[in-house]
């Protein structure tokens, strides 16, 4: 057997899960979809003493609308996100980001909480969370904490979460009907982890850009919005020239590296190509959210 020995707990409610996690401390790991954790256990890169399986807890898998927000339970599957009509209507960018994760077999099991807690720099859901101005709620025996997307991610595989916390809910503000959006990924093979993922949200009033959010994932160790480029867009009239300039400027904030999949030069070039396309697409589909 490939994994080293461990104990598995299958709590039926969140309270039991939280006290197990608190009791076992850093020797325990949460398991939800297992799509990132089990490979590392199989390779013995991770050798947890205990696993706490959240899959038997009712009430952590939901997508619902409350006032002007979409609330998503921590154990909601990628496949739930990509097929949800609420998400399609109110924040379609999130559904697109979930739908391009790996393959269907991965999306049936993998969860939003697992992906965000794992914080892989090439993951797509963090790009969506940042672009959509989402929030993350974590719960421990000490209570609930809430993070803005910007405060949540620290770097490669690291977040603001403590070891005794469970990611219990994600909150996405409803995207106004008059906004435009775009989400795209660059992959070498359909379904691979992306070399590059770009998310854009844009609002235009009286021919001027009044709101712009731009996130690039897959290049830097920390997926972040490019605030300087967003500011460059605001107050301007949308045009091909503006989007070209903004895309070229985006490259100044990227530190790509060369590896077996692609050279640093190629990655940097493609940031320019993809950001330009994404800005154009967002502008062109303004007013089409939910249609």
């Amino acid at each position: 057997m490939k994994p080293s020995s461990f104990e598995m707990y299958t709590p039926n409610n969140i309270e039991d899960a939280l006290s197990l996690l608190d009791k076992h401390g850093d020797e325990a790991k949460i398991i939800t979809g297992g799509q990132s954790l089990v490979p590392t256990i199989n390779m013995r890169l991770a050798t947890p003493k205990s696993l706490i399986d959240l899959n038997r807890i009712d009430g952590l898998r939901y997508i619902k609308k409350e006032d002007n927000k979409i609330l998503i339970g921590g154990v909601t599957r990628h496949h739930d996100l990509e097929t949800s009509s609420l998400i399609k209507e109110h924040c379609p960018l999130l559904g697109l980001a979930a739908g391009c994760i790996g393959h269907l077999a991965i999306r049936y099991r993998g969860t939003i909480g697992g992906s965000l807690a794992h914080a892989d720099p090439a993951a797509t859901l963090p790009v969506a969370l940042l672009t959509l101005d989402g929030k993350v709620k974590t719960t421990s025996v000490n209570g609930v904490r809430e993070f803005d997307a910007e405060e949540f991610f620290y770097g490669i595989f690291t977040t603001a979460m403590e070891e005794n916390e469970i990611l219990t809910e994600v909150e996405i503000p409803i995207v106004p009907k008059e906004a435009g959006y775009s989400f795209s990924t660059l992959t070498r093979i359909h379904g691979d982890f992306p070399l590059l993922a770009v998310g854009v949200l844009m609002e235009v009033e009286e021919e001027k850009i009044v709101k712009a959010r731009l996130t690039v994932g897959g290049i830097n160790p920390l997926t972040e919005r490019i605030v300087d480029v967003e500011e460059m867009l605001i107050g301007k009239k949308p045009s091909d020239e503006l989007f070209y300039e903004a895309a070229q400027s985006s490259k100044d904030f990227m530190e790509p590296e060369s590896d077996i999949s692609a050279s640093a030069e190629y990655r940097l070039h493609m940031v320019g190509v993809y950001v330009e396309e994404a800005l154009k697409n967002a502008w062109q589909n303004i007013g089409k959210v939910g249609n």
Binding site: M1, K2, P3, S4, S5, F6, E7, M8, G34, Q35, V38, P39, N42, M43, L51, D53, N55, G102, H103, L104, A105, I106, Y108, R109, I189, H190, G191
Partner: protein
């Protein structure tokens, strides 16, 4: 060291089993070693190749990324469960007719993924088949025969009476 085990109950291809299983045993290894169902193949054991794909509660998932005891109470269908009353499933027939396999290593996972894909897209284009099947790696065929097999199976599966469909 004493192996840590749990007792679990699982239905595989319609047969119910109660078994004591090491906690760290993967579902793929449990099916192969404890139940002798060696039709499920194991390639990479980290979710990338698709060889171990099978149905758990109606969804085609990677059995190398699930611990056997997580399938406690589940209904599992492996490649051995496709044949009904001595008759091959249309997916098996099509793979046989269109040369969808050579060495056969990827084939069980390919067929399970293909059946699941057609559930979502019963009448796909060739390009859609290529994308839908991209999670499964084949080292022999060059994929042409596999894509042809899935395209051939699609209308045959749509015509099956619901009760004789696997899912």
């Amino acid at each position: 060291m004493q192996e840590n085990t749990h007792t679990m109950n699982i239905t595989v291809n319609g047969v119910n089993y109660e078994k004591e299983v090491p906690v760290r045993k993967l579902l793929s290894d449990f099916l192969r070693e404890d139940l002798g169902l060696t039709g499920t193949h194991v390639g990479c054991e980290h979710g990338v190749c698709g060889a171990c794909t099978l149905f758990v509660n109606g969804e085609a998932i990677r059995s190398c990324l699930m611990f056997a005891i997580q399938a406690d109470g589940a209904d599992v269908t492996t490649i051995e469960g496709l044949e009904r009353n001595g008759e091959l499933h249309p997916m098996q027939e099509s793979f046989s007719e269109c040369h969808g396999l050579q060495c056969g290593f990827c084939t069980p996972g390919m067929m399970m993924a293909a059946i699941d894909f057609l559930k979502h897209n019963p009448n796909p284009t060739e390009q859609e088949v290529k994308e839908g099947m991209s999670g499964n790696i084949c080292r022999c065929t060059g994929y042409k025969g596999i894509v042809d097999s899935v395209l051939k199976a699609a209308p045959l599966i749509s015509k099956l009476e619901t009760k004789s469909k696997v899912f």
